[in-house]
Amino acid sequence: MSSDHSRDPCPIVILNDFGGAFSMGVIGGSIWHGIKGFRNSPYGERRIGMLSAIKARAPVVGGNFGVWGGLFSTFDCSVKAVRKREDPWNAIIAGFFTGGALAFRGGKKHTLQSAIMCSILLGVFEGVGLMFQKYSAWQNKPQAMAYPDQPQPMA
């Protein structure tokens, strides 16, 4: 698997992933908590309820996303630097560390469980990605040209 050139080189891409994940979380969280706050407010206060729900919760969702994405990117870069290769195992190992680091305050058992769950999740993602890659490669496979039905008579 060759490296992905639509992304920046390693140490600085961490910043990009932090910001990207945070923005995604804030925008998605605004939509999610906006709808939720609107529906859960009494009539007459629905818009103000939506606004306060967004203000209270969207940045937190963004922060959770951002920390996850940034930690993952940091571990991904570190694993790449140590292993000196790029394959799906990078993401799985980085997912293991990310899940573990985020659950570290919950005790040993919780840390291990969360790390394993996270690496399984990343493994599934990578598997689906590989499937898509294989499928698109199969779609663009080189085609042999068809033989003409009848041999041209020699003149």
Partner: protein, 210 residues
């Protein structure tokens, strides 16, 4: 992010580079073939090979479908492919900075609030609790501000077709006003002024660094 939003291709302003004279001889002074073949350097195998020049390697951000941002005056400190890169880098940097500063503040607050003669586990927990209370709060607020600022900045850039310090200051003022828009006019004005000042300071720093 172009897979998500699609991106309008910026018009290519760079002209095709003029084809350089690469023949090893002067074409006007050719009389016959053997004359050409005997000229030293005419048939340089290291340049005629189909894979010549590959030792230069691939350059990042230099591929055809990843054109750098070509808005006038928008070239920042790091190369950017457009508004989504600006958004990600700007938000990420400010968010991380807020997280770090808030975390540092929480750390010293936690150190000061350690209960007297407590076991080490409790000490660590006290410090961590204070860090996780202050860090994410400051980081989230700063990140949301930076996100709003970057979205507005890129929008103004796209409308005006160029980027300058006035854009940044204006975007900062609008972002600050939106951030405090539910608190009344006075906080809105104060926050808009603060953000405009911060954006102006950033512009000054950027021009100093580049």
């Amino acid at each position: 992010m172009s897979w998500l939003f699609g991106s309008r291709k910026a018009e290519q302003k760079a002209e095709e580079p003029v084809q350089q004279q690469s023949l090893g001889f002067d074409p006007t002074s050719v009389s016959d073939i053997s004359n050409i073949l005997s000229t030293p350097g005419a048939l340089d195998t290291s340049r005629l090979h189909p894979l010549a020049g590959l030792d230069k390697g691939i350059e990042y951000l230099d591929l055809e479908d990843e054109v750098l941002n070509q808005t006038e005056g928008a070239q920042g400190l790091i190369p950017s492919r457009g508004w989504s890169d600006d958004l990600c880098y700007g938000t990420g940097a400010v968010y991380l900075m807020g997280l770090g500063i808030g975390g540092a503040y929480g750390f010293q607050e936690g150190i000061r609030n350690i209960p007297a003669n407590s076991p080490p586990k409790l000490k660590i927990n006290t410090i961590l609790n204070h860090i996780t209370k202050r860090g994410p709060y400051l980081g989230n607020s700063a990140g949301v501000l930076a996100l709003t600022y970057n979205i507005i900045d890129s929008t103004i850039d796209a409308f005006r077709g160029k980027h300058d310090d006035l854009n940044s200051v204006g975007a900062g003022a609008i972002a600050g006003a939106i951030f405090k828009s539910s608190k009344g006019f006075r906080p809105m004005g104060i926050s808009a002024g603060l953000m405009a000042g911060a954006a102006g300071a950033w512009c000054g720093l950027k021009s100093l660094l580049s």
